[in-house]
Amino acid sequence: MSDISFVRTEMLPEQDPPASTVGLIGWLRENLFSGWFNSILSLVSIYVIYVILSGLLSWAISPTWGAHSLNECREILAGLGREGHYAGACWGVISERWLQLMFGFYPPEHYWRVILAFVLVGVGLAPVLFDKAPRALLWFTPIFPFAVAWLLWGGTIWGPLVAMAGFVVGYFAYRFVSGIAGGLLGIIAAFAAPVIWWLFLAGPVAGALGAILPIGIEAVESRQFGGFMLSVTIGITAILISLPLGIVLALGRQSNLFIVKALCVGFIEFIRGVPLITLLFVASTLLNIFMPPGTNFDIILRVIIMVTLFAAAYMAEVIRGGLAALPKGQYEGADSLGLNYWQAQRLIIMPQALKISIPGIVSTFIGVFKDTTLVSIIGLLDPLGLSNAIRADTNWNGIVWEIYGFIALVFFIFCFSMSRYSMYLERKLQTGHH
């Protein structure tokens, strides 16, 4: 045997990849200039970005933060040698009016109440939204809606407390009646007792308690609400109430009970078939006509009711989609374990259906929050309504882009963070194998 061999016994050292496929150049070649069509697209894109950015930046970078009127802005810019219609932005209007855009005509000495209220919303929702938040906060979650309402509208503390007591009444009615007469009657009692409490007893009790022990903070009227505070108030209330309402409607629509199903379908299709603005017209002109003579309740409350109903109908459809997407085996599995309807819904169906519908639920939330701008059409002073008022001011007559830009930016921050949260939630709840 000779030791002449045509087979290499050791490997050649690895060579570096060609310079044109790695690093910045490789990335550019692969992602931007792979072929003539892509190159043209890239060049056009770069040109578009350049035109937009150069125009926008030269306008937006403008030292007018301290100006008190549009004329002053123009003088400052003229002093810098910048003339013309689009010489520069007039940021003075934002620095002077941003508090108004945030709080509307809420009394400035009470701004802390609004800020505290929204901090409380955050604290109350944190344990629901993030599992890293301390669990001890959960006891605060059921209380915060009442605390927030009291802080925003003010007045005597007994109103919210008595309203909250309705739930306690319901709980005790359930315990008491179900002990005597069985579960189903107990549930009926648990619904009936609070309603009786709120309708007939709450008012006098709160009045009496207020007379004995007057604790309260200065009341603020609804028409002083405005700006983003109004949007957030309407938006958060509608979002929080519409989710449970939507679940109930979705279950009703999926149920075998013909009349219940027909009522739910009718409600959902009616609400989804008309534009929100017509529902707001109902809130502003008709809702008082539908109520017993002499009732005259708050315009913001009326708007919240209609926006909530609107959101609930959309939510119901989203959740119905989640329910329909569950394989039939899940329902059959729950049945075979001997779970009754509510147990099956609570333990098996809903957790999965809600998880599937998270993207839809969150985009409904975003839609509702964006739609709160429509209240400006029926004369409430949300940011868009205020922008008209500000533009009518003689000092700022002629301002357009600064205010709209500011409002758009704030909305974008709110909505974009909501959609990022939904992605986080989807990842967190991901149980598939990847």
Binding site: G273, F281, L286, L384, V400, C415, S419
Partner: protein, 422 residues
């Protein structure tokens, strides 16, 4: 041996209504129905009481009274002496006009953006993502007023077109004028016109039908029908002999030639807008409010449609394309026979629901003064007559009808393309 006997018949007890599952569902339904009827009765009772207190008996007589306000953008003839009903009808047509225009442009834009968002070009994909996020996360009402402000603030006034050296000039060889009062485009005119047919006399729903348009459409339809016949014939020949005759030029000719002859006979020409005094006259005037609403709704809805298209394309398994090539289908036929039918099943239902949203969002026209149904019936008519109940209910009913008809089309389509499962 055991025998099965019927269980002893229980006598009916009242508690069985609640505890026996045979009767419980019935009980629940009857309770729900009674509760619902009580609620409705309560609302109607309150309403009747309140209206009686205000001295406003519900009636629709106001619809026949003269409206007394003008509508500047309209499809049918209208003057301020016409009835409120006529004004509402003009408003409804305006709603439909902006909805149809918006749906078309939003679809085109949305498909382009959705496809570009999947592009391998990093920069283009990022730009389209920014577009989508920008429009989806800012309220549509803000986009509408913003677009209106852009049109009013940045476009030249009609007087800028005057003089020897005008600051602004018309576009497309002097046929289109873009001004801050709106856009003027050429209108089609016929010098040997066949005239109009006037329908429904002087009633609120009167309208003129242009015979020229009818003739044009008839010839066009006939052309397409003949073209389809030629295609069927070619298909048959291909089935029988294996050879497909070349028909593309015949199919184009049967559509184009008769239509062209008809237009020549009728003396078709375009009426161009002209600057007269301080404003343009002639041509078709699309007002700012219409353009702003149309643009803003299209751009906004396009962002949503882009996401739908993207999801639809991504939903098709790559194996489908590979299987199609394994069967020997050409890329074009793969697209039309395999990919598109499946992608469209995913795309079309949410697409139609976005059309529905666009139509409903067009009610925000009131913010820029475009006189749609909300602006006429639920706007000025409501304010002038004080008939909140009747106008708002009528308006809701009309929107509901539009929505339910679109939903019916969608359900029909869904049932047709549904996958058959157990």
């Amino acid at each position: 041996m055991t025998t099965l006997t019927d269980p002893p018949r229980e006598s009916f007890k009242l508690s069985m209504l609640i505890y026996d599952t045979r009767y419980r569902s019935l009980t629940i339904q009857i309770v729900a129905l009674i509760g619902f009827l009580l609620l409705i009765g309560w609302l109607i009772g309150n309403t009747a009481q309140n209206l009686a207190d205000l001295g406003k008996e519900p009636s629709f007589g106001f619809l026949a009274e003269p409206a007394g306000y003008d509508i500047n953008q309209r499809l049918l003839d209208y003057n301020s002496q016409d009835s409120h009903l006529r004004a509402g009808l003009i408003g409804l047509l305006n709603t439909l006009l902006v909805a149809v225009l918006g749906c078309i442009t939003a679809t085109v834009l949305g498909v382009v953006i959705g496809v570009l968002r999947l592009s391998k070009n990093w920069l283009v994909a990022r730009l389209m993502t920014i577009y989508v996020e920008m429009f989806r996360n800012v309220p549509v009402l803000l986009w509408i007023v913003f677009t209106m402000a852009i049109l009013i603030e940045t476009l030249p006034a009609p007087r800028a077109f005057r003089g020897e050296n005008p600051e602004a000039s018309m576009m497309l060889s002097d046929s289109v004028a873009v001004t801050n009062r709106g856009v003027y485009i050429p209108e089609p005119l016929f010098s040997n016109s066949l005239g109009n047919v006037h329908l429904f006399g002087e009633s609120a729903i009167r309208f003129d039908v242009s015979l020229d348009l009818i003739a044009f459409l008839a010839v066009l339809m006939a052309g397409f029908w003949v073209s389809a016949w030629i295609k069927r014939r070619a298909d048959r020949i291909q089935e029988e002999t294996g050879d497909r005759p070349t028909t593309w030029w015949q199919r184009i000719a049967v559509v184009v030639v008769p239509t062209g002859i008809l237009l020549t006979v009728l003396g078709f020409h375009l009426g161009y807008p002209e600057l007269k005094g301080f404003n343009f006259s002639g041509g078709i005037h699309l007002r700012n409010s219409l353009i702003a609403l149309w643009l803003a709704l299209s751009l906004y809805t396009a962002a949503f449609i882009a996401e739908i298209v993207r999801a639809g394309i991504m939903a098709i398994n790559k194996g489908q394309t590979e299987a199609a090539s394994a069967l020997g289908l050409s890329p074009r036929r793969t697209m039309s026979l395999v990919i598109l039918p499946q992608a469209l099943r995913v795309i079309i239902p949410p697409l139609i629901s976005n059309y529905l949203n666009l139509t409903k969002n067009s009610s925000l026209a009131i913010a820029v003064g475009y006189m749609d149904l909300t602006g006429t019936l639920m706007g000025i008519t409501l304010n002038q007559t004080g008939r909140e109940l009747e106008t708002v209910l009528m308006g809701m009913l009309v929107y509901l009808t539009i929505s339910l008809s679109i939903s019916a089309v969608m359900n029909w389509y869904n049932n047709r393309v549904k996958l058959v499962e157990r």
